[in-house]
Symmetry: D2
Subunit: 441 residues, 4 copies
Amino acid sequence: VTDLSAADLAIPVLGPSRYASPIATLLGDRRTSAHYVAADDRVLVDDTLAMASARNVAVADLPAFEAGGPRREIYFDPIHTRAAIVTCGGLCPGLNDVIRGLVLELSRQYGVNEIYGFRNGYQGMVAEAGLDPIGLSPDVVGRIHEQGGTMLGTSRGAQDPDRVVDRLVELGIDILFVLGGDGSMRGAQGIVDAATARGLDLAVVGVPKTIDNDIPFIDHSFGFQTAFSTAKDAIRAAHIEASAVPQGVGLVRLMGRHSGFIACYAALANNDADFVLIPEVPFRLEGADGLLARLRHRVTEQGHAVVVVAEGAGQHLLRRNPAQTDASGNAKLHDIGQLLGQRITDHFAAAGAPLVLRYLDPSYSIRSVPANAYDAAYCVRLAHTAVHAAMAGRTGLVVGRWHGRFVHLPIALATGSRNQVDPNGDLWLAVLEATGQPAFS
Amino acid sequence: VTDLSAADLAIPVLGPSRYASPIATLLGDRRTSAHYVAADDRVLVDDTLAMASARNVAVADLPAFEAGGPRREIYFDPIHTRAAIVTCGGLCPGLNDVIRGLVLELSRQYGVNEIYGFRNGYQGMVAEAGLDPIGLSPDVVGRIHEQGGTMLGTSRGAQDPDRVVDRLVELGIDILFVLGGDGSMRGAQGIVDAATARGLDLAVVGVPKTIDNDIPFIDHSFGFQTAFSTAKDAIRAAHIEASAVPQGVGLVRLMGRHSGFIACYAALANNDADFVLIPEVPFRLEGADGLLARLRHRVTEQGHAVVVVAEGAGQHLLRRNPAQTDASGNAKLHDIGQLLGQRITDHFAAAGAPLVLRYLDPSYSIRSVPANAYDAAYCVRLAHTAVHAAMAGRTGLVVGRWHGRFVHLPIALATGSRNQVDPNGDLWLAVLEATGQPAFS
Amino acid sequence: VTDLSAADLAIPVLGPSRYASPIATLLGDRRTSAHYVAADDRVLVDDTLAMASARNVAVADLPAFEAGGPRREIYFDPIHTRAAIVTCGGLCPGLNDVIRGLVLELSRQYGVNEIYGFRNGYQGMVAEAGLDPIGLSPDVVGRIHEQGGTMLGTSRGAQDPDRVVDRLVELGIDILFVLGGDGSMRGAQGIVDAATARGLDLAVVGVPKTIDNDIPFIDHSFGFQTAFSTAKDAIRAAHIEASAVPQGVGLVRLMGRHSGFIACYAALANNDADFVLIPEVPFRLEGADGLLARLRHRVTEQGHAVVVVAEGAGQHLLRRNPAQTDASGNAKLHDIGQLLGQRITDHFAAAGAPLVLRYLDPSYSIRSVPANAYDAAYCVRLAHTAVHAAMAGRTGLVVGRWHGRFVHLPIALATGSRNQVDPNGDLWLAVLEATGQPAFS
Amino acid sequence: VTDLSAADLAIPVLGPSRYASPIATLLGDRRTSAHYVAADDRVLVDDTLAMASARNVAVADLPAFEAGGPRREIYFDPIHTRAAIVTCGGLCPGLNDVIRGLVLELSRQYGVNEIYGFRNGYQGMVAEAGLDPIGLSPDVVGRIHEQGGTMLGTSRGAQDPDRVVDRLVELGIDILFVLGGDGSMRGAQGIVDAATARGLDLAVVGVPKTIDNDIPFIDHSFGFQTAFSTAKDAIRAAHIEASAVPQGVGLVRLMGRHSGFIACYAALANNDADFVLIPEVPFRLEGADGLLARLRHRVTEQGHAVVVVAEGAGQHLLRRNPAQTDASGNAKLHDIGQLLGQRITDHFAAAGAPLVLRYLDPSYSIRSVPANAYDAAYCVRLAHTAVHAAMAGRTGLVVGRWHGRFVHLPIALATGSRNQVDPNGDLWLAVLEATGQPAFS
């Protein structure tokens, strides 16, 4: 964090803003107010400090994000602006909320009336797929926010940026909103680079989607609260099943390829988990201090136990074949849930201990639920921020919230590292406190 | 904010910490890690800056909160420590989660085994009430977090701090946790002052409860997300009722005596409101630009409309009798919901316009629901923070979260002002964008 | 019941069926099976008997309903049939499910492709209203079942049957489905009579809608389970509020103008009510055995109490002005909830007893929720039954379920009396058992 | 059905009733009313008839169940009666509701104050297990109905009836309530037989538990509505996942070893399934009319499809090893869900068709949810009926609801056959109509 320079945090701008923002019509007598973001408004990247070390640092030298929000002047003339939206990668609660928020803000507040939705992710952005974009308007997005999924469809995988740009030029698109994960954001950067190389006036604004909450410099990604709320229900079910029978063990596999946030928050939310296993904290299975022995001990002691495992945990226990990747280029993970289930069964059998194992994998039930109220409100505000950024001629950025403020992040920064649970941080400590889970090594 | 001095932010400490924290047993090999909070860890009060003005300010001179979390050494000897909990004021989702979190953390992580719950708020803390405190343990708090309300009961109103301290002395209480609103926190300060005057070794730690989210310097208060989520359902119902009939108007009265956060977030979360009225933003009823004319215009235009009003909005429209206060000393508000309903009915009648008015007041259904997953996880972490603070000998503080970090706030700071929706801020702008609501004056 | 003659139960038929049912294409090899309803299939009106009295009765002499379901031959030629749907009266969970079920069954199974929806109830069926009907198709009804309300809109009040029939003739409608309450069903009978007088080939089939479950000879009306489920939440909230404070009383006013089913089932579902007041069982307020004294006794005994009152209960306690009726012609009821609240407050005050009264009126939140899974499945099957009946040339009937079987009821029978809670029956006994509520007189 | 004789339907009675029912105290002035069940009250087993065939049958000759409900006189003296409860087999929503209902009714209405709960099913009923029964009272059962599972724990498998009876004698139990499936009910019959052989005065009353709804002569078993409601959510998720991607197939495996009720009702409730596979209706995978070809056709046509399969469907496709049984003696089924997933994948691959398959198995999330409002109310009434039956000296029976009335069924009848979806009945027809699913053979 401390290594970030002003250049790392700079947001590309297509050019000087030339038009008065139509947002003014909303503000009535408040039009002279502080609603508009000033050119040099910033939000500190780091606001915690040990006083001793901070003694002689000047505030203006600290790394800071550009603030999101409406500008007094904008770059694009709304009446001549054509915008498009694409959703990529796996489902996540809130996609439809963001789509709807973008359309309503573009249309009602800025007066942009030509809005298109590409279908099925980047696949729908190349001419060969033969998928015509859908015209979007307030009527079309109606009540889509009350449903899960994405009305535009999605797909995994990238496309040649030049062919994507060809298509955007052909359709006369000025602004492209990309909703997707880190792979999709790298794709968005490719589009920015290709457009820049051609000298095109194209704004590309990302709304980062990651149900795992693993995008850095974002308080939490949209849909995350909905996701761990639903995950919590699975832990509760596992607990009820396990505690209803003698020697019951509930094993819940949750999402989280590289980051254990869903597992941690879901476990905190109902406090029924005895062990939480996440990618960031290695664990041993065998030995007196290993998971298996401790699990059996816990079952003996309280009659039952619940284990929550993120899909990316314990990969060191599995042989990994780096050649296997899915369509998005992610390494395919071996299934730690199935492996754990087998090892627990074997361990209890070897010890002559009875066992009733209940295995739950709620993943596809989690990704497809509608956003809860918090995420719904958050999605609307992210959408507003994305529209403000694009209309002000920003490009090559994603929008996010940092310490409660909406900010602009360069795509490179958002995709350059991963947000992970800090094994030395307060979230993991809270999980240890809530579960009473011992250290495994 | 800029006026805050270091003194304003200082947290009283009972004395130097003398015991090693039992939290270490949780941490295993991680015991040398950064899990512990250092004496000078701080979190900046303000992390936004306009670069020009921040040019020459040194970081260490900025106002900052003491960080919450476990200390390496603690003040109280757990084995000889007796703790008590009291819940005061109106119901709020999450009270049972906090109670349970306090009991589990005290008992399981610190080894404090004598924990009492006073019944029915401060009323139960004076001997005259004849209410014996309840013994609390992990078994007793069982699954209370899955139910709304508070297992300890509550009540409104203060008690003589000296008689409260008499009772605490009589029972040998070392630590008192107060869950309550600003009135209750002023009561807690009174207890601190009375104990200090007697030279008692009493730690008083508050967990601020306000369903209206009106405590300053706290990202959001516990239960708030649950509250606006339930409030959203009422707006949705009003919308469905209003839009199902010709000339339908849905009018929803929500909580919010001084702050319109619930109204704003609930309206953002479902986007069905056409007008949102909050205490912070005055509005006119009459005139071409007044609410009534604009409402009728909206109904004519789209066939129906939904009005959301916070209970504290539009008080200027009502004659106020300052002599009327409730048992907590709050001025009794005239009912803006009923008044609006009448004025809308009259206005449509005078204009000869048909009207089907649906009035919803979901308040008591909102306060009593169990905390949602987010609030549940948040309550557990607030409880952990409160226990850490108390065991480290802090007193006269409340715990909260600021910009994502758990911090300590002096009670005086938490009760010295109110968190309100900033009419010039991004939340209110988001509401204006989402509703398309015009300025009323 | 025993007075019913075969004539009372006969369903009018437009004429002999002339076309093979397209349902056969669904049935494949099963086409010779028992899926089709035979002409003389019947369901007994009464299947309980005291053996002594039944000794000499022949089964075929007992009153019985015509069975619902598909016929092997149908009356209307699907390709030339035009159908229409109208929804009338107050909202009820499931209206959209029935609309969608009708459209899908007509379109997909029978091949009827001209389907219209009249807007805003009977109001939209007369030319003067200037409301064009909406074309309905599987696409248009999309996911409407996941939303509350009715996509067609509704209104209260009747229209001149002759003008309605004029409009039906003008639009060439062969089949009209009416979703509405008893007033609307009497309106439907008026349309049948007017059409019959003109010798028109019009099938009118009702799907009775009554959130109060007060239609006779129907196991339960659609939406009823959803309704009492939501009502239960309000009782739970009242209980939590009341039990959290000293001397708390929760008072919940529920729907039920003439029938207390919602109050009874909601009270059974959570078992938190102490008193349930319904229109069918009179009660006294005053006196040692009256509600007020018993309520105060219960509060003294257990610290709190919950009273559930159906809107039509205790009307004898109110002065009634028979001149006041709403747009549907229903007598406007005085508000028993408000009256009870006042009388309880006065009674406790007179006795010098403290009281914290929480009043909840969740009505508009109940009517507008989407149907739950049970009601959704039930609505689909009612819709199927209604389409089968209409296509087979039945008219002047409503569809319902009786003892688990789908049946046809003459409109006159469905509107000739009311389904009410039997004060001597097992439902009311269950409520008495669950609440321990004493007799009041 | 028509083969049932009066003997088949007769309920054993321990002896003549000797005590006045305390229920009378509830009834006040209504004590002379029809609340009590008369000795010869019956409910017809079959109330549908084709008129021709019913012409000459006398009503009293038709098979009929004994009516449930309170008797004016009872067999056991409440003050000297000791009751016990045991829950057996897999979890099912509503178990805690029934337990609570039994305890409250016994204690509050009948004044039975000695009530015990055996732990972990029949396992806890033999002395060797060393599991002491739990004392049950209104306080102990508190709010257990708001949680899933069973507070008593459960287990699979039978015990020697004689040792169970030894234990009952030792503990002085007069009444035993068994909540369990058909295996457990056969166990209950064994206890009845053993007790009868010893001439013991023991009433054994079953409350049949089957999440699959496969008990005959019961409208639907408790927990069934909750179960299919939760199952519906999984189908919805599968639909959203499948329809969001190109060539998406959602495959949902639901409970239903021998009966496809959950699959049918869940599919009807959301109408998103394209194919429903149940044990009662065989299907072919291969061939032009087989599932695989038709599925691919559907995917080609509408872009995606959803398949719902009950766990017991398609067993003919699997090699079966009759030696494999679980602890309850049920044949272990091969996993049709996994098999179908593999065969679908292979089929699409062989055809060179892309495929995104989403597999959901929500079983353990379904069994553990709390009962919904309908089931909660139903459980309370079943519990009341069971208590009335036991107190009146009935034994060897289960309670159920038939055509809306609570009735007594001999255990032998309830376990002698299975309730299944009739391939020629109206439920399966409704599924065919809703899915448009073709015949597979």
